[in-house]
Every structure is written in C-alpha cells, then in structure tokens.
C-alpha cells in the first residue's frame, strides 16, 4: 500500500502527510464516530474543542494510507475505522479526552433506523393531547393510549423500545410527539492511541462521583487519623483540643470529680437519677 501512496495525486499526498504530521505533533491520536450529528451540533462541538483537540475529517482510504505508512503499532487503528469516523488529536490523556467528549453529548429526537441506546420508557399518565386521531397513532405504535377526562392518557408505564432495538418510523413519530429524546448525539470516542497503547471506551469510562466520594473519604480518614493520633496541624488542633476537653469533662462527670466547670452536670445527672427512681416507686 505504501508504494501505491506515491501514485496518489498531490492533494491526496498532502492529506496523508497532514495526518502523519498531526500524529507526530500530538500525544494522542483517536477516532471518533460522527454518526448522526447534525451540522449545527457539529459546529458547536468543534467550537467546544477548540484549543483542546483537533478534529480532522477526511476520506477513510487516506486515513488508512497514512496509518499504514506509519506502521506498527499505530497502524492498528485502521481496524477501528468505520463509515463515520473522523480523526481526533489532543495532548490530553485518553481519560481526559473521553470525559470531554462525554460532556459534549446531548439528547436528540430519534429518527427511523436509530438504535435505542437504552430502554425507552413511556410513563403512565396524561399527555398534553386533546382527543383525536393521535390516539390511533399511539395505539398502532403499541402504546396503551386512551381518552380520559377529555385528554389522551397513557394507561400504564411501557417499555416502548428495548435497548439495542431499532426504532421504526411509527415509534420515531410517537417519540417525537411525546417530546422524548432518546438518542445520545455527540462525538463518541471509538479508540485512542496514546503512549504506545490503544484505549477503548470501555476502559475509559470514569465514575467521577466515585472519585469525589473517595477524595471525601480520604480527607475524612486523614482527619480522623490526625485527631486520633493527636497529631496537631492547623486543621486538626481545634478538634483535638475539643476532644481532649470533652474527655476530661466526661471523666469528671463519670468519676464525680467536683469542680466548678462540671458540678452542674453532676447535679443534673443526680437529679435525673432521682427522678427515674422516683418514677419507679410511683
């Protein structure tokens, strides 16, 4: 194939060289799936990525040429290419890129032929529609619709399209009428080549909440340890003193050590005990 490249017209050769040079310039070379992204969203996403990543769209054959020319291991990327792939370059690490791309995802209305990314559910309850032919439309699509109190209602919760199933024309129409937007649209990362390794999306999905919780947990653990070990720092000295003072008061009350600071507590305790005993003798 490399030989064949030399026979390409100049603009194609330039294109291949551009791809090769980007891959040298950036730490990460990746493929993103552009499938189903309307032009308007595409523009917004490009703007969002400006300064963070370069999105490069070109013919798949030229992409294949370029990577084949670069050789192993990066040429492995060609096996991920499909009809809607574009190249993406960045100096972020793959996890960061994946996270950024996830943030560009938005929900869109379904078109016939789209695959349901997850179970699409229509909830039970009234709709905004007045009685009319729409009831028939709903029913034909398989929705338990009926007329109640002058309104079209959905009689029970229904899994309308199962995850992974294709959404047909009727279903798409109904979803659009109900304003349900089931389709994730955005740049979805297909693969990232970084530091000699391929990263697939399944590896890159990060549960940020878990990290946040772990930071909180770590901070609590550190705080607990410092207070427990009475290791004084600007953050822990006050709680440590408070703890010490609390312990001293507790000891004072438990042992009935009569000092002015806690004698009221001891009196209070004695009176409560007397009351409790009195209660048992009545």
């Amino acid at each position: 194939m490399a030989l064949y490249t030399t026979n390409l017209p100049q603009w194609k050769q330039d294109e291949v060289e551009q791809i090769v040079s980007y891959s040298g310039e950036y730490a990460l070379t990746g493929l993103v799936d552009l499938h189903g992204i309307p032009a308007k969203q595409m523009q917004e996403m490009r703007r969002d990525l400006q300064g963070k990543a370069v999105l490069h769209m070109t013919r798949n054959t030229l992409v294949e040429h370029a990577f084949t020319a670069m050789g192993a291991p990066i040429d492995g990327i060609t096996s991920y290419i499909d009809g809607h792939s574009a190249l993406i370059y960045t100096n972020d690490n793959p996890f960061q890129l994946y996270r950024k791309l996830q943030q560009t995802m938005t929900k869109m209305a379904a078109r016939p032929g789209d695959i349901a990314p997850e179970d699409i559910v229509v909830e039970k309850g009234p709709t905004s529609f007045k009685p009319g032919p729409i009831v028939g439309t709903f029913q034909q699509a398989g929705l338990p619709a009926a007329i109640e109190g002058g309104k079209v209602v959905i009689r029970e919760r229904k899994v309308f399209v199962k995850a992974g199933e294709e959404i047909n024309a009727k279903q798409a129409e109904v979803l659009s009428k109900l304003d349900i937007r089931p389709i994730d649209v955005g740049l979805s990362l297909q693969v990232a080549f970084y530091d000699g390794t391929f990263f697939e999306p399944s590896t890159l999905a990060i549960d940020e909440t878990e990290y946040y919780n772990n930071v909180v947990l770590a901070a609590q653990q550190a705080f607990n340890l410092a207070v427990f070990a009475a290791y004084p720092t600007a953050q822990t000295i006050v709680p440590i003193i408070t703890k010490a003072a609390g312990e001293a008061r507790s000891l004072g009350v438990e042992a009935a050590i009569y000092t002015s600071d806690i004698v009221e507590l001891i009196i209070g305790r004695a009176s409560l005990q007397a009351k409790a005993l009195k209660g048992m003798t009545e």
């Binding site: 009350v253 209070g268 305790r269 004695a270 409560l272 007397a274 005993l277 209660g279 009545e282």
Partner: protein, 69 residues
Amino acid sequence: MEYIYAALVLHNAGKDVTEEAVSAVLAAAGIEVEDSRVKALIAALDGVDIEEAVAKAAAAPVAVAAAPA
C-alpha cells in the same frame, strides 16, 4: 425528693436501703422525718432495681447549659 436522695446516698455507698437507714440520713440532715413516708418509700422500692433506674437516667445526655454569651 429528699427521701429519694437519701435512698440514693445509701445505695451509692453500697448500704442497705432500710427504714432505719433512710430515717437516720434524713435526721442527720436536720429533716423532721415522717415515718409513714419512709415506710411508703421502702415499700415502693421493694422489687425495684435501683441500679437499673439510675443507669437509665444516666443514659440521657445531660444537656450542657452552654448558654452562649
């Protein structure tokens, strides 16, 4: 309540809570002892687990005054 407190003085010191003992404590405090109240107290305490009553009260956190300035 002084009859109860007298009983608690005795109990806490590990003494038997009897009519005589309670009367003696109250008398020592300069209190004119009413025999019938002492009898009633001793009768009422019969079968009562003083330790338990006391422990129950202690389980309640004493609200610390801390009336802030």
